[in-house]
């Protein structure tokens, strides 16, 4: 049977047809919300109507059968409506309070992870990794799974001073929001790309490849009709490899992960912040990356102990000072921590008012 008639440029379906009736009725007219239990909140409208949201974590990679399972649950309890969040959770939306407890029971029995709302670790955003990406230097899903198994209680139950947003990016392209997360992993290369001169001629453009380098490390090599890379200038960003497949940068023994902390996107109390480097390199150790996971848990627990109520990780560190952060966490400070890239000068200390 042939496929139906195609249409172009119609855009997405209008969202209104997917809104539960209680949302349609109270659209833009909500009064307040409260968290009732980990992973459960209620929004109350000015009309007095309520909508209950039960949030479950997901690994983002979902099989169609799992989506169907979630749909069956939504049919049973939520009149056939559900939504996903910006951090890849599934939210079951109910207008009937009496169904909340049985829904939670069924979700628990089926192994869903309820949580992620409020002052907890929320579902990490992450990238494709070895599952599906050409530039990955680690597996993002594997790291997230390993990390969240270890931090599960902070997702499902235990409260922290404030929410903690985790993220994993499998290379410096950072398709996830690693650059503005409380605690995040970014995978890095540590060796300069290898030039395949024979393949270069057929696969790559010389000017594009040279222009792709942010540090000016690439120059023409007329002898081989290819390029040369200056070792001491290369920071392994891999941008040249993105525009030219003939200079592979992946290296199984040298690719690894770095940990960055202190970023946020909300403007509450203090401006949005970038995450900053705290551990420059940990070897890739699939399937469970034990050292990277231990480092993340360690940082999270020092934060949980030392931060004041409502301080995000970055706000806590700015209050105590980065020198104190390295002291409290007992993380070694190295040359990699001192910036020597685009915005370096703004990071050098200009007062003698630091702590020991």
């Amino acid at each position: 049977m042939s496929a139906p008639q195609r249409k172009t440029d119609i855009g997405p379906p209008h969202y209104e047809q997917f809104l539960p009736p209680v949302i349609k009725k109270n659209y833009g007219d909500w009064k307040y919300h409260e968290q009732l239990a980990p992973g459960v909140m209620v929004h109350v409208a000015n009309s007095g109507d309520k909508i209950f949201s039960v949030r479950v974590g997901s690994p983002r990679i979902l099989a169609t059968d799992s989506i169907r399972d979630a749909c069956a649950i939504a049919d049973k309890y939520c009149d056939g409506y559900l939504r996903f969040t910006s951090r890849n959770n599934i939210e079951f939306l109910l207008s009937d309070e009496s169904k909340v407890a049985p829904l939670k029971e069924e979700l628990k029995n089926k192994g869903y992870a309820i949580g992620g709302i409020g002052y907890r670790v929320s579902n990490p955003v992450h990238t494709q990794g070895w599952v599906h990406c050409h530039s990955a230097c680690t597996d993002a899903s594997g790291l997230v799974k390993s990390m969240m198994d270890e931090l599960y209680e902070y997702f499902a139950e235990k409260e922290l001073p404030n929410k903690v947003r985790l993220a994993v990016a499998c290379c410096v392209n950072m398709c996830g929001a690693v650059h503005c997360s409380d605690i995040a992993i970014v995978a890095v290369h540590t060796k300069i790309p290898q030039v395949d001169a024979a393949a270069f001629k057929n696969m790559c453009e010389l000017p594009t490849t040279i222009a792709s380098c942010p540090t000016g490390a690439i120059s023409p090599d007329p002898a081989t009709k290819s390029i040369k890379i200056k070792q001491e200038k290369c920071m392994y960003c891999g941008n040249c490899f993105t525009v030219c497949p003939a200079i592979p940068i992946k290296d199984p023994d040298r690719d690894g992960v770095a940990i960055v902390v202190g970023g946020k996107v909300g403007s509450l109390r203090s401006d949005p912040k970038f995450s900053k480097l705290v551990i420059p390199y940990i070897s890739n150790e699939p399937p469970r990356w034990p050292k990277a996971v231990a480092a993340i848990k360690h940082i999270l627990e020092v934060y949980a102990k030392d931060a004041k109520k409502f301080e995000r990780v970055g706000e806590w560190i700015e209050r105590i000072g980065w020198e104190k952060f390295f002291d409290l966490t007992d993380i070694e400070f190295t040359f990699q921590h001192i910036d020597d890239f685009t915005f370096a000068r703004d990071t050098f200390r200009t007062a003698s008012t630091f702590k020991w």
């Binding site: 249409k7 440029d9 119609i10 997405p12 997917f18 809104l19 949302i23 659209y27 909500w30 307040y32 919300h33 929004h43 974590g57 997901s58 690994p59 983002r60 990679i61 099989a63 169609t64 059968d65 989506i67 169907r68 979630a70 069956a72 939504a74 056939g80 996903f84 910006s86 890849n88 992870a113 070895w130 599952v131 599906h132 990406c133 050409h134 990955a136 597996d139 594997g142 799974k145 198994d149 599960y152 410096v172 392209n173 398709c175 929001a177 594009t208 497949p245 992946k250 199984p252 970023g263 909300g266 403007s267 509450l268 109390r269 949005p272 970038f274 699939p286 409502f310 890239f341 685009t342």
Partner: protein
């Protein structure tokens, strides 16, 4: 029956309380050859610590330049099921709301033509269908588009806009994020499907400064809801918070970044002229405090990840804009911004980087926004700046006027 692989390393990741992506891949691998080889290939990566995917190839559907990302395995002879393993991006509905019927239909189409694996959702917001072959792309597109779905953006194009849950289920949303997201997506359909720009252009829309979609960090164009005027206070609810053990002084007043609040005699006062609308107090006392009535948005421009000369957060460009149907004001300014970027941008240069290189003045002039102190953290410090003839002329004219009136105007 699809091929079976031993996957001792991946099996390890089926243990533990967090939902397992390996179990997801296995569910598909049990009935689909592509997914089976994806599983085998991933186990190999876990063994060798390296990926086996090649750069994306040019694949797509007729009349479109994006929406499908070509993906080929570098060792197809070993894993023929993933020789092609293309990604299809389906433009999600605003706010990621679905009916179960709609989702099941999408699943049925995907099981028929693809691996059965999805990402719900991709980083930009699309529903991601992971793994299919070139020859069925037209069929997939016909199945989806005939049912009212379209492809999302990819390449040097408008990327699929996304938004927070907004007025659908949040009392803090100052704008109709869902409708604006829908309307902007419709407005830029051509730019979304036919890459013709220097690089990608992302739009994210958040209803308030909590920014649940990370607009300020992850979108070239960050539209963030805000308000003018006074925060609405329900003093009875304030008293209830205090009565129930909530420390209004310590957790709200003392944490206010502008010090514009006081709490005396059980009454909360706000000096609204000094409030910067950060959302801390409102988010901590949801029953007592609400944003003011004159609602709109701040448009910030330029955020991106580190590639290539460093990550950027978006910069305030339009401090306040009215956001009401049919959103002409927002559409016009966004279009002007992209026009300017398209004029000056070099290949693979994001709009924020072009503003840095060409200059903020050129950008503001083109889009018709005046210089405002709200756009900067502080004025420049070094004594080097440009004057255009008209700048001096207008200063001279002002001085001449002052001579006449005897009154200085700084």
């Amino acid at each position: 029956m699809p091929k079976k692989y031993d996957t001792p390393l991946l099996d390890e990741l089926e243990k533990g309380p967090w939902p397992s992506f390996v179990s997801e891949i296995k569910k598909c691998a049990a009935k689909n050859d592509m997914a089976a080889d994806e599983l085998g290939l991933l186990e190999k990566s876990f063994n060798t610590k390296i990926g086996y995917w090649k750069h994306g190839g040019i694949v797509g559907v007729r009349g479109y330049g994006g929406g499908v990302i070509g993906r080929y395995c570098s060792i197809p002879e070993e894993f023929p099921g993933v020789a092609h393993f293309h990604t299809v991006r389906i433009n999600q509905p605003s706010g990621w709301f679905y009916t179960t019927d709609a989702l099941r239909t999408a699943c049925d189409i995907w099981d028929k033509y693809g691996s059965g694996l999805t990402n719900m959702h991709g980083s930009t917001g699309d529903m991601i269908l992971l793994g299919t072959r070139t020859e069925v792309l037209e069929d997939i597109f016909a199945e989806f588009s005939s049912r009212g779905w379209d492809l999302g953006g990819s390449g040097s194009a408008m990327r699929t806009p996304s938004c927070c849950v907004g007025p659908a289920r949040c009392e803090w949303s100052n704008i109709d994020t869902l409708e604006l997201c829908y309307q902007l997506t419709q407005e830029f359909q051509d730019e979304l499907h036919r890459p013709s720009w220097p690089y990608k252009f992302k739009i994210k829309i958040a209803g308030c400064a909590c920014d649940c979609v990370a607009a300020i960090a992850r979108a070239d164009c960050s539209i963030i809801g805000t308000w003018k005027g006074n925060i609405k206070i329900d003093q009875n609810e304030v008293k209830n918070y205090a009565k129930n053990g909530f420390d209004v002084q310590k957790w709200v007043v003392d944490m206010c970044p502008t010090g514009c609040m006081s709490f005396e005699g059980g009454e909360l006062k706000i000096d609204n002229s000094n409030c910067n609308r950060c959302m801390h107090c409102i988010s901590k006392m949801t029953k007592a405090l609400q944003p003011g009535d004159e609602k709109g948005a701040t448009i910030c421009i330029g955020s991106k990840a580190p590639i290539v000369v460093g990550s950027l957060l978006s910069w305030v460009i339009v401090p306040f804009i009215t956001v009401e149907k049919p959103f002409d004001e927002v559409k016009d300014v966004v279009r002007k911004m992209t026009e300017w970027w398209d004029e000056y941008g070099k290949p693979r240069e994001r709009i924020g980087e072009v503003i840095e290189r060409v200059g903020m003045r050129s950008f503001l002039d083109y889009i018709g926004v005046p210089p405002l102190p709200q756009q900067v953290k502080e004025p420049r410090k070094d004594p080097f700046w440009f004057f255009e003839e008209q700048d001096i002329e207008s200063i001279k004219a002002k001085e001449a006027e002052e001579k006449k009136t005897g009154k200085y105007k700084f």
